[in-house]
Amino acid sequence: MSREHSGTVERSRLPGSTFLLGLAGVVSAFAILEAITRADLVDRTYLPPASTVLIATAQLLVDPEFLGHVASTMRAWAFGLGLAIIVAVPLGIAFGAFDRVYRASRALVELLRPIPSVALIPLAILLFGQGLQYKLSLILYASVWPILFNTIYGVHDVDPIAKDTARGFGFGPLSILRRVALPSAAPFVYTGIRVAAAVALILAISAELLAGGSQGIGTWMLLVGSGSVDRTLVYAGTVVTGLLGLAINWVLVSGERRLFAWHRARQAGS
């Protein structure tokens, strides 16, 4: 009777070969780019050779001035995302747990949700100028939605048998919310936060690009981009941004695996 679930292991994929294939893809793309530019098929001021960009990227990663800009963007990102969590999680719980609250606020939510966050940039500039507040307001707005909707979904769709189990043992509605609905919704909330983290980074850099300010990756790109004809640094900055997004996602995905192994195992089982 002691048949064990293979749990968190994904059966159909071999992790080793996936990694090698991915590496092969990156190396090939790099080689093609390098060949195109070295053969002077395109103007080097538009597309510098891949190796040049790579070297510039490495230099940027130890450049204190650039790192200061990165830190500024990341501060706005972290604050904005943190605020979004503080706002969206309780709201999502209220909407998900109390149907009346949800129905009452639904019209407003459906009206606000389709507004692209970038379309709010002019309004945000008018309201907050070009400082941190302006960046934060945009990041907050954009990251609230994925967290809010995942939380509503997670709390609303708790298994009725799980709730009946708790009710059968005499637990009241608030205890059931705390002891059953919230833990069971937690993986969905987390997924919302993971999606929001990516959105927040996009918004942070877009906001910096569109309204300058004095600090941030976007601001830095505007500066180095307008200062010279050489685009190498802009490309290198773009690569760093990509790496940043990758790193954030990697950290959050590994957190998800550790925290919610039970959720993955269950989804694999059903």
Partner: protein
């Protein structure tokens, strides 16, 4: 119809119970005027065709659902909400156990409301897990266990709550035949050791006769009591001995015959 009074004082009584889902033209009558009593310490099985309203009945008895009419009384007091002293074991153990909690935390879950001292909680968890022979799995998670083991965790959780009445809703319908036989004997064992009253809903005729003191046969939907059959088979029961005894074979045939005509009538009814 055989109406036999239990030899023990009544613990639980169901009187004039009706339940209708929806209203008006779309109303579906799930239960139609059910009356029965369960004696203290009795093992009562409720058997009926699939979808006849057995689950609705159990939900009404447990207080999870308010019946449209009629009463359920425990110790002579009408149940209006989930009463103390009742525990439920659902068919779908995978959805009833909390996957984010270890086996021992799942068993501890109902105790957390009772504000018991830590030592007593520990003791009850140990005792319940030992009763279902899962001491070794205390630190595992439900989803790391087989189906039969998961249902044993659910039984241990119910036992830790020390209920007077254990309500079981087709608890073994989703495990294989061998596991099912093992679980049946396990339930008989804990029933005897914990001297709990068990209300066991099933659609399996053999299971109902094998386990019970009395079998309540329900009709096809809407559910009403077709017969109340005392099972006089000696205890302890044995999967092979009991199931090959003449008395067992006679009883299962009797229950089967009672369920069959109900099925025939339903077919006749739909063909009109």
């Amino acid at each position: 119809m055989t109406v036999t009074r239990a030899p023990r004082p009544d613990l639980l009584a169901v009187a004039g119970l009706c339940h209708t889902y929806g209203a008006g033209a779309v109303a579906t009558v799930a239960i139609d005027d059910l009356d029965f009593e369960v004696g203290q310490g009795e093992f009562l099985s409720i058997v009926g065709p699939s979808g006849c309203g057995k689950t609705t009945l159990l939900r009404c008895v447990s207080g999870l659902q308010h019946p449209t009419a009629g009463t359920v009384t425990l110790h002579g007091e009408a149940i209006s909400d989930v009463p103390e002293g009742m525990a439920l074991v659902f068919q779908d153990y995978a959805r009833s156990l909390f996957p984010w909690m270890s086996v021992s935390s799942n068993v501890e879950f109902p105790l957390s409301r009772l504000r018991l001292p830590r030592s007593e909680r520990r003791e009850r968890i140990g005792e319940s897990l030992a009763a279902v022979r899962l001491d070794a799995a205390a630190d595992k998670y439900p989803w790391q266990l087989s189906g039969g083991m998961q249902q044993r965790v659910a039984i241990a959780r119910a036992l830790a709550y020390r209920p007077e009445v254990l309500l079981m809703d087709e608890p073994f319908a989703s495990v294989d035949a061998q596991t099912r036989a093992d679980l049946e004997d396990l339930v008989l064992d804990v029933w005897r050791r914990f001297s709990v009253t068990i209300l066991f809903v099933t659609h399996d005729i053999d299971e109902s006769v094998y386990l019970s003191d009395r079998v309540l046969v329900l009709s096809r939907s809407p559910a009403s009591v077709v017969a109340d059959i005392p099972v006089g088979l000696p205890r302890p029961r044995d999967q092979i001995e009991t199931k090959s005894a003449d008395g067992f074979v006679r009883l299962r045939a009797e229950v089967a015959r009672l369920i069959r005509p109900a099925r025939g009538a339903e077919t006749a009814g739909t063909s009109i």
